[in-house]
């Protein structure tokens, strides 16, 4: 996980000193905190499944297989994008990156149609997807301006970690709301 630009290196005889890069470590910590927030919401959801006397029930939801497929594929495309940038292929990076943006946007549009049912987990998750898409969009703009180079692979990778997390959360939400909840 270490990128050379961020490690501390000190030549002191035989001592070779390398520590993990701060970007991914910070992102993993943030993901842990976010995961804890989602856990609490999932627990609340499972606690109340079938108990509500007035609210909407999950049975009115249709299975969002297509948009789920889009979101999960976007994890693969962002992974390929980061790999392409690391190997110094800006053209294929841009292609994969825009693909990720599109897949995420399709997912968000699909969720928006479900949103009138107001499921809080989905709302919270959609918020995270939106944040992710804004960040991915920002990087896309910079890429079009030819500002994203091979040495930025570390930063882009941190963003991809966040995106993988958003996808993983969707797997949990899907399981809890659409599989267990129905």
């Amino acid at each position: 996980m270490s990128t050379p630009s961020e490690t501390v290196k000190e030549a002191d005889g035989e001592l070779r000193w390398e520590l993990p890069a701060r970007g991914p470590v910070g992102m993993y910590c943030l993901i842990a905190a976010e995961a804890a927030i989602f856990v609490i919401f999932v627990v609340a959801y499972l606690f109340y499944v079938g108990k509500s006397v007035s609210g909407p029930t999950p049975s009115i939801l249709s299975l969002p297989l297509f948009i789920s497929l889009c979101l999960l594929s976007s994890s693969l495309s962002i992974h390929l994008a980061v790999g392409a940038l690391k190997r110094g292929r800006p053209a294929s990076f841009l292609a994969y990156w825009v693909l990720t943006l599109l897949l995420g946007a399709i997912f968000l549009a699909g969720t928006a149609r479900e949103w009138r049912h107001l499921i809080y987990e989905e709302g919270l998750h959609a918020l995270h997807v939106t944040v992710g898409l804004l960040l991915i969009g920002t990087v896309a703009v910079f890429t079009f301006l030819r500002k994203v180079q091979q040495e930025h692979a570390g930063h882009v990778e941190v963003l991809s970690l966040y995106w993988h997390f958003v996808d993983a959360v969707w797997v949990v939400v899907f399981t809890v709301v659409y599989v267990i909840g129905r």
């Binding site: 961020e6 501390v8 000190e10 002191d12 001592l15 000193w17 520590l19 993990p20 890069a21 701060r22 470590v25 910070g26 910590c29 943030l30 842990a32 905190a33 976010e34 804890a36 927030i37 989602f38 856990v39 609490i40 919401f41 609340a44 606690f47 109340y48 108990k51 509500s52 006397v53 007035s54 609210g55 809080y120 919270l124």
Partner: protein, 557 residues
């Protein structure tokens, strides 16, 4: 290794106008300045929360006292609890961590300096929002009120029906905002400790303070986030027609208790682990011995960290859980006493046979050992569910957790203040005033909190604004309030000592305690960049190695 002593303001700096200097503090991203801001912020709210406690105690000094109205009493104990936990203890812990961790691991700053500043200002804004409720949060009678739902805000007290107006919303927002700040600081601390240690400082050679703050930060990430989630749900309940905690519509009040205490109990360890960290640095230096059982100390810390995530429902024995849950939480709560006991024995073994010098930091540390032990013992008593059924919600519990927070955490915070004051300010504190502070505060502490156990055992419930005479509570309540007087005077002496010593104290030099960790190798106060050349360490006591090249630690570790 001797470094010249420079003042806080260099001559060039002294000519800078006051506005520019203040601007420098507001826009700073330097971990030392942010640490000082955190600590000053905490000190301010310590005085505020202390005044609130004093008012509460004046009301309870005798039966049928009419000093405060019941409504104001409810607001004051809510504000006292919320202030002391979120705006005194947390910023104090983060302030010391911010200041000390980069210096002790040989780094020039935190991993994310701007995130660091953001986190501080979020915390600061949280405190402002909480106290803005006093003018902005019109409540039950259509007038301005502070939150009055207690610091753990049990449902359904927080429902719109029972908390009209916005006082509860100010409470919720204040905790949400400061929670974001706390998580930011925790992420920053973990990343700093993992990624920015100076060459040679493997995890096994890290000062215990860094290890323990790493454990604290992990707990913040895992424990404060559930509180944030629960507060979001409360907002949904109050404004978006949700029924998470609304029993009338199929919600559950018990769920709030679980969510709150999933945060609330690890929070105790978030606060006490840094106190352990101070003890683990201060006791060895004033005993002139290396810490006893370093690996075991680390292991015990991680064990506490782990177990503390699974003890929360011991706050809920009286709610009525299944006997299986009761048994689980009794056993897990008792189990956490084991690693804590190991720590106490390790500190004692460090003192054993050492050349102990009872300067003010060591006095506070020694008192901490006794008091934290006592607090732990009443904790084991309360962990037993049948005993807890009798005393939960009584003054015995109030006495127990104040013993932990004041007798344990605040005493070690005072020790840390005196120990690192020369490093931060460049000047020595006044030893006589320090000792006076210690003795007055210790007498006041024991008068207040030893005596507080007794009315609890005699059945006095917490949070009552007055009581009937002749139940055997009267004299104990009088003694409890008298103790507050001693503590108040002691804190004033403490603040006076800090201010006077900062202005007129003798120069301390870079290493007044002949200590062994890296912060003492910098000038007092340290330069903005901390280390001109990044240090290279070979043992847990790098300064010992420098001072004693003939007998360095790394030969034995």
């Amino acid at each position: 290794m001797s470094t010249e002593t420079t003042g806080w303001t260099t001559p060039a700096d002294a000519t800078v106008p006051l506005v520019d200097r203040l601007h420098g503090w507001v826009t700073t991203v330097d971990h030392k300045r942010l640490g000082i801001l955190y600590i000053l912020y905490a000190l301010f709210f310590l005085v505020v929360g202390g005044i609130e406690a004093t008012l509460l105690r004046i009301q309870l000094i005798r039966p049928h006292n009419a000093f405060l109205s019941p409504e104001v009493f409810n607001q004051l104990f809510t504000m006292h609890g919320t202030t002391m936990i979120f705006f005194v203890a947390m910023p104090l812990v983060f302030g010391f961590a911010n200041y000390l961790v980069p210096l002790m691991i040989g780094a020039r700053d935190m991993a994310f300096p701007r995130l660091n500043a953001f986190s501080f200002w979020m915390t600061a804004f949280g405190g402002f929002v909480l106290y803005f409720s006093v003018v902005g949060g019109y409540g039950l009678y259509g007038m301005a009120t502070a939150p009055d739902v207690g610091w753990f805000a049990y449902a359904p007290l927080t429902a719109k029906t029972f908390s009209p107006g916005h006082s509860t919303d100010f409470w919720t927002l204040s905790l949400l905002v400061s929670g974001v700040g706390s998580i930011g600081t925790a992420v920053n601390l973990i990343t700093t400790i993992i990624c920015l240690r100076c060459p040679g400082m493997t995890l096994g050679k890290m000062p215990l303070l860094a290890w323990l703050n790493l454990a604290m930060a992990v707990l913040v990430v895992l424990a404060v986030s559930p509180l944030t989630a629960a507060q979001l749900m409360l907002v949904v309940d109050r404004y978006l027609g949700g029924h998470f905690f609304d029993t009338q519509a199929g919600g559950s009040a018990v769920l709030w208790m679980h969510f709150f205490w999933v945060f609330g109990h690890p929070e105790v360890y978030v606060l006490v682990i840094p106190a352990f960290a101070f003890a683990s640095e201060i006791i060895p230096v004033f005993s002139r011995k290396a810490i006893f059982g370093y690996p075991v100390m680390v292991a015990a810390t991680l064990a506490i960290c782990f177990i503390s995530m699974s003890v929360w429902a011991h706050h809920m024995f009286t709610v009525g859980m299944t006997s299986l849950s009761n048994t689980f939480f009794v056993l897990s709560t008792m189990a956490i006493a084991v690693p804590t006991g190991i720590k106490i024995f390790n500190w004692l073994a460090t003192m054993w046979g050492g050349k102990i010098s009872f300067r003010t930091p060591m006095l506070f540390s020694t008192a901490f050992l006794f008091q934290f032990l006592t607090a732990g013992l009443t904790g084991v008593m309360l962990s037993s569910a049948p005993f807890n059924w009798q005393l939960s919600g009584s003054y015995f519990v109030v006495a127990h957790f104040h013993y932990v927070i004041v007798g344990g955490i605040l005493f070690m915070a005072f020790a840390a203040f005196y120990y690192w004051f020369p490093k931060v300010s460049g000047r020595m504190y006044d030893e006589r005033l320090g000792k006076l502070h210690f003795w007055l505060f210790t007498i006041g502490f024991h008068l207040t909190f030893d005596c507080m156990h007794v009315p609890g055992l005699l059945g006095m419930p917490r949070r009552i604004y007055t009581y009937e005479p002749g139940r055997g509570w009267d004299v104990w309540n009088l003694l409890v309030t008298v103790g507050v007087l001693f503590q108040g005077v002691a804190v004033l002496i403490f603040v006076a000592n800090l201010i006077l010593s900062y202005l007129r104290g003798p120069l301390a030099g870079s290493d007044p305690w002949d200590a062994w960790t890296l912060e003492w190798s910098t000038s007092s106060p340290p330069p903005e960049y901390n280390f001109a050349v990044l240090p290279v360490v070979r043992s847990r006591r790098p300064l010992w190695d420098l001072k004693h090249p003939e007998d360095p630690d790394w030969k034995y570790e």
